[in-house]
Structure formats: C-alpha cells, structure tokens
C-alpha cells in the first residue's frame, strides 16, 4: 500500500507530525533506502483489518533535504529512530483499519498514545537493529498484558531490514 509521510497530519489531526515525519525520512535515507521506502508489516488481530502482511511503500515527498539534514544534525540518532517508528506506526494504523491516534501522554521518560474513540492504549518501539526488536517488543507487550484487562496496540519497527509488527491484544 502506497502512503505518503506528508499525509500523516490528515490521518491523525490531533498530533503534530512535522518532526516525526521528517525523522522517518532521515532514518531511511541514512541507511541508504530510497523513496518510496518498502516496509513489510506483520499485522495481528487489528480491528477492521485482522491478521496478515501489510506491505507499506512510504513516499518521502514534501520534505526538503535541508530540513532532513538539519534534523539529523540536531537530534540524537536513537531519538530519530524512536520518532521514525512513531511515523511508521501512524501510517500502519491508518492503513490497517483506518485507526486514528488522538492523544499522547508521558509515562516517565517515554510516551504512550490513545487510539480511536475506544481509547485503546498504544505503545510504540523503534530499533536500529533487527535483532533488538523482539526483546523490546516483549517488554512492551508483557507490561501492557500485566497492567490492562482491555484491548491495546503495540507497534514495533526496526530500520535495519527494515520491517515492522503491529498487533492488537484483546
């Protein structure tokens, strides 16, 4: 499915997307990927979509090289990866069922999100290396499973291959 980073503000109008979308361009560019960036997502039990493979083709148009380079110079690499994962999560949620992120809150040093009118919690994790994603994913999934008895989303993205996973738990 072809999607444009520049459309994130229309998909999720409650949040600010400028830095997040530009960070995604910076992270893909730095790893030598060219737009449209191919990113296969594994989708599991997502309402309105179900389970399956979702092949995202992410277009970078609308972000100048100067803007992306400035972001790369001013934001630490691991923070850029975290932001890029938020951008991918926003695109994947929209593509897999038209889900809208409508709220962000802080939880210590990190953040979580609310999705849709049902206010389902969403946590997002981004990693540079493919081999680091599973442990990060498990940490989020297990913590939310322990804490909540209602549905929640977890989205994980690694930018080495790249690939991602979006799942909903009931």
């Amino acid at each position: 499915m072809k999607l444009r980073l520049v459309d994130l503000p229309d998909m999720h109008p409650g949040l600010l997307w400028d830095d997040i979308a530009a960070a995604a361009v910076a992270v893909f560019d730095e790893r030598g990927f060219t737009s449209p960036f191919a990113l296969p997502m594994t989708v599991e039990n997502v309402p309105g979509y179900g389970s399956g493979n979702l092949d995202l083709e992410i277009a970078a148009e609308g972000f100048s090289a100067v803007r992306v380079e400035k972001l790369r110079r001013t934001i630490e690499a691991h923070r850029l990866v975290e932001l890029a994962a938020v951008a991918v999560a926003g695109l994947a949620l929209f593509a897999a069922g038209g889900h809208v992120i409508r709220d962000v809150a802080l939880r210590g040093s990190s953040a979580d999100y609310l999705v849709g009118a049902e206010n389902h919690l969403l946590e997002i994790t981004g990693r540079s290396r493919s081999r680091d994603l599973q442990a990060a994913w498990n940490a989020h999934w297990n913590r939310l499973t322990d804490r909540l008895d209602t549905g929640f989303f977890v989205c994980g993205v690694e930018f080495e291959t790249p690939s991602g996973r979006l799942a909903f738990a009931t």
């Binding site: 409650g14 600010l16 934001i75 409508r102 210590g108 206010n119 919690l121 209602t150």
Partner: protein, 115 residues
C-alpha cells in the same frame, strides 16, 4: 479502557497532546526553558483531564493522565512537585503503587543518565 463520552473535551485532549509534543521537541534540541514551559502547560492540562476522565467513570484514563502530569512536572524540572503527585497517587491507588513506582524509578534513572 472504556469508551469516554462527554465531559472530556476533544479540544483539551488535542491541546494537551500538542503541548507535550512541543515540550519533547524542545527537550530533544536542548531548549530547556522552552521545554519546561510546555511541560508545565501539559501537566496542568493533564490534571484537568484526569478529573474529567474520573467524572466520566474512567479511572484507568484518569490515572494515566495523573501519571503523565507528574512525568511532565518532573521533566519541567519540578521534581519535588512531581514526587508529591506520585506519592499522592500511590496512596490513593495502592493497587497501582508498583506501576507508579516503576515510572518514578524510570524518571530518576533517566535524570541520572542525562546528568
């Protein structure tokens, strides 16, 4: 989490979320005074939202907003105010005390790493 209808304002949720994002953006680029201003604005809005969620019968979202408020205060440099809010929250919801302590420990760990 249960669906929340009125009296929780969508506009307030959006303004709060954007204040958090502005604060995070300023923090990422070392603009500390600007980050603190936006974190403080977000903290106060989270406290308003917490009350609204609780009035609407959603204790989970109310607790989430209070944890976010305390986290915003901490990241604005108001550590003692944040700790007081975390302690108040632990006392009012003993069953969530472990979860709340984990968030406080995370903030302390992040602060020591940044120092």
């Amino acid at each position: 989490m249960a669906s929340v209808q009125a009296p929780v304002s969508d506009m307030l949720v959006t303004v709060k979320s954007r204040e958090i994002q502005r604060a995070q953006a300023a923090e990422r680029t070392g603009r500390r005074a600007e980050a603190a201003r936006h974190f403080l604005a977000a903290a106060h809005l989270e406290l308003v939202l917490a009350g609204d969620f609780e009035e609407a019968g959603d204790r989970e979202l109310g607790r989430r907003s209070r944890i976010s408020a305390a986290s915003c205060l901490w990241r604005a440099g108001r550590m003692s105010d944040a700790e007081a809010l975390f302690e108040e929250l632990k006392a009012s919801e003993p069953s969530a005390a472990g979860e709340i302590q984990d968030v406080l420990d995370d903030l302390k760990h992040a602060s020591s790493g940044a120092a």
